[in-house]
Amino acid sequence: MSDEAQKRPFLFLWTSDPGRESEQPDDPKIEDWLSEGEAAGAWQFGDPVAGPGEARSVVRRGAEVIVTDGPFPEFKEWFYGFDVVLARDIDEAVEYASKHPLARAGRAYVLPTVPMEDSN
């Protein structure tokens, strides 16, 4: 098995952060971060997320579906976007996330995935 095949997906969730700093001129550009990740076989896809007023929260309780319009008071910060990245382990994923300009101008949750076939 090749090295590449042993990588697994990680979800990066980018959010605002009260301690965020403004971007600096020497910060990496998002385009460079993406192309570096694509060249390394790490970055798969990602997208900015719309503002909290555009989001919906959905639950089913008994037979009832309850839909709540955003913004949600429990979210003081909001999502900037997400990326799906392949990495060998959490450290490799963290290292790649730390190079994104939003590591400074926000924060990253780096979330490992569980393959569906392993979780049954």
Partner: protein, 138 residues
């Protein structure tokens, strides 16, 4: 086949304090996967909080926090990237996911800014072949 002329949404599944307790017998995830196959682009379950990291960079220094507490009290259990013709349809798709009962579903509209639909389609197909043809991702 996914219709990429449609809008894209991120369904983010979280725990919820008032949710139905999880039961494997009541987990109809495979029915959902079959029912929404035309809408679902990609999705995975997420590990518990303990394996996650919070990453920030402040004054040039990288800070990594193990087992971070989410910005809100609950934690993320999984996600799906779907296409839908409207937000109402995305909400309807999310409402049928078992996590709507065992937790909560956040329906997040995407901006379509970074990833062109054509490229997304290409990477999703490449991803489906990752085990067989790993170089297809490069």
């Amino acid at each position: 086949m996914t219709d990429t002329t449609q809008e894209q949404y991120l369904l983010l599944f979280t725990d919820a304090p008032d949710a139905e307790p999880y039961s494997q017998e009541a987990d109809d995830i495979f029915d959902w996967l079959e029912a929404v196959a035309d809408h679902r682009i990609f999705g995975e379950r997420l590990t518990g909080r303990e394996e996650a990291r919070l990453v920030t960079k402040r004054q040039g220094e990288v800070f990594v926090t193990d087992a971070p507490v989410a910005e809100f009290k609950e934690w993320f259990s999984g996600f799906d990237l779907i296409s839908a013709s409207s937000r109402d349809e995305a909400v309807e798709i999310g409402s049928r996911h078992p996590c709507a009962r065992f937790g909560r579903v956040l329906v997040l509209p995407l901006m379509g800014a970074i990833q062109s639909n054509a490229l997304l389609e290409q990477t999703v197909h490449a991803r489906a072949n990752v085990a067989a043809e790993p170089t297809a991702l490069a």
